[in-house]
Symmetry: D2
Subunit: 352 residues, 4 copies
Amino acid sequence: MVKVKIIGAGGFGGVGAIELLTRHPQAEIACLQDVTDIGTPISALYPHLAGYCDAKIVDAGDPLARQDVDVVFMATPDGVGMTLASDYVNAGVKVIDYSGDFRFDSEADYAEYAGWIGRDTSHKAVALLPETVYGLTELHRDEINPDRKIVGNPGCFAVSCLLGLAPAASRKLIQPRSVICDCKTGVSGAGKKPNAAFHYPARYEMMNAYKLAGHQHVCEIERELSLLAGEQVVTTFTSQVVPVCRGIMSSLYADLKNEMNADDAVRLYREHYQKEPFVRVLDRSAAVGSMHVRGTNRCNLVVDVDERTNRLRVISYIDNLVKGQAGSAVQNMNRLFGLEETAGLERPSQYP
Amino acid sequence: MVKVKIIGAGGFGGVGAIELLTRHPQAEIACLQDVTDIGTPISALYPHLAGYCDAKIVDAGDPLARQDVDVVFMATPDGVGMTLASDYVNAGVKVIDYSGDFRFDSEADYAEYAGWIGRDTSHKAVALLPETVYGLTELHRDEINPDRKIVGNPGCFAVSCLLGLAPAASRKLIQPRSVICDCKTGVSGAGKKPNAAFHYPARYEMMNAYKLAGHQHVCEIERELSLLAGEQVVTTFTSQVVPVCRGIMSSLYADLKNEMNADDAVRLYREHYQKEPFVRVLDRSAAVGSMHVRGTNRCNLVVDVDERTNRLRVISYIDNLVKGQAGSAVQNMNRLFGLEETAGLERPSQYP
Amino acid sequence: MVKVKIIGAGGFGGVGAIELLTRHPQAEIACLQDVTDIGTPISALYPHLAGYCDAKIVDAGDPLARQDVDVVFMATPDGVGMTLASDYVNAGVKVIDYSGDFRFDSEADYAEYAGWIGRDTSHKAVALLPETVYGLTELHRDEINPDRKIVGNPGCFAVSCLLGLAPAASRKLIQPRSVICDCKTGVSGAGKKPNAAFHYPARYEMMNAYKLAGHQHVCEIERELSLLAGEQVVTTFTSQVVPVCRGIMSSLYADLKNEMNADDAVRLYREHYQKEPFVRVLDRSAAVGSMHVRGTNRCNLVVDVDERTNRLRVISYIDNLVKGQAGSAVQNMNRLFGLEETAGLERPSQYP
Amino acid sequence: MVKVKIIGAGGFGGVGAIELLTRHPQAEIACLQDVTDIGTPISALYPHLAGYCDAKIVDAGDPLARQDVDVVFMATPDGVGMTLASDYVNAGVKVIDYSGDFRFDSEADYAEYAGWIGRDTSHKAVALLPETVYGLTELHRDEINPDRKIVGNPGCFAVSCLLGLAPAASRKLIQPRSVICDCKTGVSGAGKKPNAAFHYPARYEMMNAYKLAGHQHVCEIERELSLLAGEQVVTTFTSQVVPVCRGIMSSLYADLKNEMNADDAVRLYREHYQKEPFVRVLDRSAAVGSMHVRGTNRCNLVVDVDERTNRLRVISYIDNLVKGQAGSAVQNMNRLFGLEETAGLERPSQYP
């Protein structure tokens, strides 16, 4: 059994991992660490876990936090993982970090990202950067393997955009400066901490765009698309929140270099993803939406071409807390330990 | 493996059973039968099932519908089960019926129920009535066993009320005419079929009471409570709908015959339910609600006494589609086949 | 024009008053005072007010806050009004206080209330207590008149319960210890300040009971019912929150002293309220709910008797922010200044 | 007083007009006509109207339906207005039609539209086409005047897109084939009639794109933009539904012909709309969303340029049932009768 420690266990990213690991056949939770609610059973914070996971939250100094584990999930915000990761990696413990800290494998790329989001541009664990990989399994499967020490789990919006555009970018079908990512997320993406914008009365009938000046996920989207396309891709990215709890719907647009009809695009995407266990490609007649991936590690892609303007249009649906976060982390863990990639992630969700 | 046929597979009651059975270690779905959407894969109606259950819906005349199975879930409305059950029972196939058809084991009791809800008071399968049992496992566990041929799965409101009042009734603590069941349900309780009252714009900010003249679940609540109390229990029952999808919150009130404080009531309930895998007893300080049982077969009971009026107050939370329907059906199936009672039902749900 | 100052202008209680006063034909907003967001236009906090009310929020020391006004709305929590009211009243300015500070007109009654909710039991403006009146217009209309200096605006749950039970209590029809108030509120009742329980992801599928040990509105409900009944009324009160923004649905139960059927009860309630502009009485066949009073100063009462148990059942619907708060305040203001009682309150709301 | 008849009174478009007209100082409702619920008071269908509008719905043959009125609101689907309008116009009664029937003033343009949406391309009232005008007041103010006989009220998505793009199009700033309209609507846009996609359980956590093959509002958007730009504008239009009741959020993108920064774009839009009573221009730092126009005739535009790609981005917010439907109809009525354009439409809405 893979022994897992979760740092930041008390947030939505932590609890999402707990839910998945509790039913994982080859992994077990060894330690829940956080900086608040120390000594509180996780099931007191999250009563739905009672009887399934009643472990107490410990702080970093607790003896429990120092026991041996095989992998650490760092469900922590930017800046935390980079201060903690080296000790684990040096001790032979693999690290899966949820933040932007390890999504870039060079100082220059990290500095650009950090500058974009207004953080100190110097990375605190430079030596680890060459060791990390961008943890979107569908894009970097071979690099996420038992020799890998550390993975930068991808951002939720980025997962939806990259899965939606990778086939077109990697085949060099799209104009590199024509990409628009119009993304809508559910509220859980903002985490567990209450704030004015996500107070129920302020949110229940509210749709709004935010961070128009620049969202933190833009850098990784552009970097990965550029790598795939072999040329610099620049996107216009619009983040929006609507009153759902879970889910991302990203509407992705790009001008096609050559004429292509919708059927061809669907066929090409199906080919590209034919062996992927978590990606489904649908055509524009499909009656699907965010509820159909809710609670799962799936990405549903509705692939289309607006033939009047020769523009590719892909609607990408994921659950922001599963494929957009904890599910991808488990998928990466499975790869890192040579387990079946779908272990712990293969189950139908519940509807409605 | 227990082979299961589901009749009425295309409704919420059917799909709930499919979701649970897909991950059940000792059961498998053998046939999905319905009267509409014949020939359609269930995963076309419910895209979240794609890859997990893609079986086509068949009608009763289809060869697939005539293959051998071990048990039939009749996820059908009142009046259907009683016309179909005899053939199955006679062929040695066990029946779990979701409707009111088999919740009463005598013609007289059925007639009273049928009259209450305005149906023909004559039962169409009288010979089966002595064979049936009211399928709330926590109340009739011993009677739900491998010798049993047919079970009447309980109504969702009734599950929440009976689990909340059974300890008090069976100990004869409460005045038999003082019981009030103030019940609020989520919208999924009304099923899959759209109607004006559950159209999103008419429902999203809507709380309302309905069927004040008499709800169909009153009869089984009063009958079971009367059996437990050994005297005739009469209730005032108020059904209400609020804009959640899943969940029932029943506030239950009854005058206590003798003085009792809240702590004593909690203790007594904890004793009563100490061996129950799906019932948790909490005191009034617990911060729990319907979300904490969402997606599970659990019932959370907040047990309290209003000491100023010496009135028992229990807040009972269930998921109407799981413990209130498909989960109880699977729990009953497990009993009927001598399986672990919790098989297929032991997993944490997802939050938020 | 009646000149109005609002203290606590930046909360939901303040903004609700602004919305109503902006369209009131005989009143105008003279000053918006608060302790936070000083200098900010109210329309920057609430963009829907832009162009209708762009006044800046001032603090108590601001010259604007010292100009003459006719009435002050104190949209402030318990304990604030009692420290501010005397100066206004002494200066001839009428006071309408939203909190519990002036809902009781004797030191003893206030002390009981304060003790119940865990506050200091000594009132800070004892001299004003004989001057105040409980501001539920329908119960104290004659006492709310131009000679009155100060009014204690009622609690939102209390409005719904008292309007639903007053006809029965005043006619001495109900057993005084049999009253149960099962109340469900929308989230806006908790105000503007975000907290964990009302964070969108924690609330959207959540029904729960809270404050079972005692809600602050119980005292005023019991006091007013006792006054009406001429005997001590004791209630079991259950406060619950469901995921709507606006609205209260209170299900009210009481044993009838003598037999009465539902038709008689409806008739009696209709007689009682026949001249009330804001109360409508409906029978149990009415298809109404909280959305039908949303945004208005109305109370809709569905009046019923459970004839099997001879128990009165009334379902009472209000908008917690209008009839439950700012609307009642405006109604009281109209009475205090001899205006048409419905001025500024007569308009249809919007549906859906 | 302008006497108004509403045909299709029982739908959301009808009731929205009733709400607005009830408080209009210079208009009154003379007749409510529909093809269902004949003889039913509108307040029985919509209990929030009780006491404000209790008129009975009549059919076309009713004497009440034949009395003189000044204007008819045809809140009816495509194909109805064109069969009814001529008689009214010939009798000197003005017509405001909600459907696509009179949004195009030539047979050729209508035929193109009708073909696009799969209807018979021949118009049933050809003689009226030269008389009609596209009823987005902000674009055709001078043509909507007391000499005008008939107005084609605009589509809700079109209102949001056209107000968001008109300043840029009319100044020829944008590449005509680069326009993308990514539009999200609340559920009320689909009307009162229940269906599977808008059943509460299927919708509450559901975001989805629909009609990717072509939405009916595309034609009017392209036609009006082309008229403004003086060249053929072609758009990629994506319609999406999210679980709000009221509101449209349209994210609009277009490549700029020349370099322009965000400040310049805001300034230009502010100039363009400086005299418009219902349009507000905000920059990307504004914290606004659909709730802030809810219940009003306003359009809030957040104007931005993605300077890295030199792409104009406008987020346009309206209430689909007011500015997107009944509010525009009343605004047009005001113009047609020489009333103050804002009459009946100037009031703050309610929040939250």
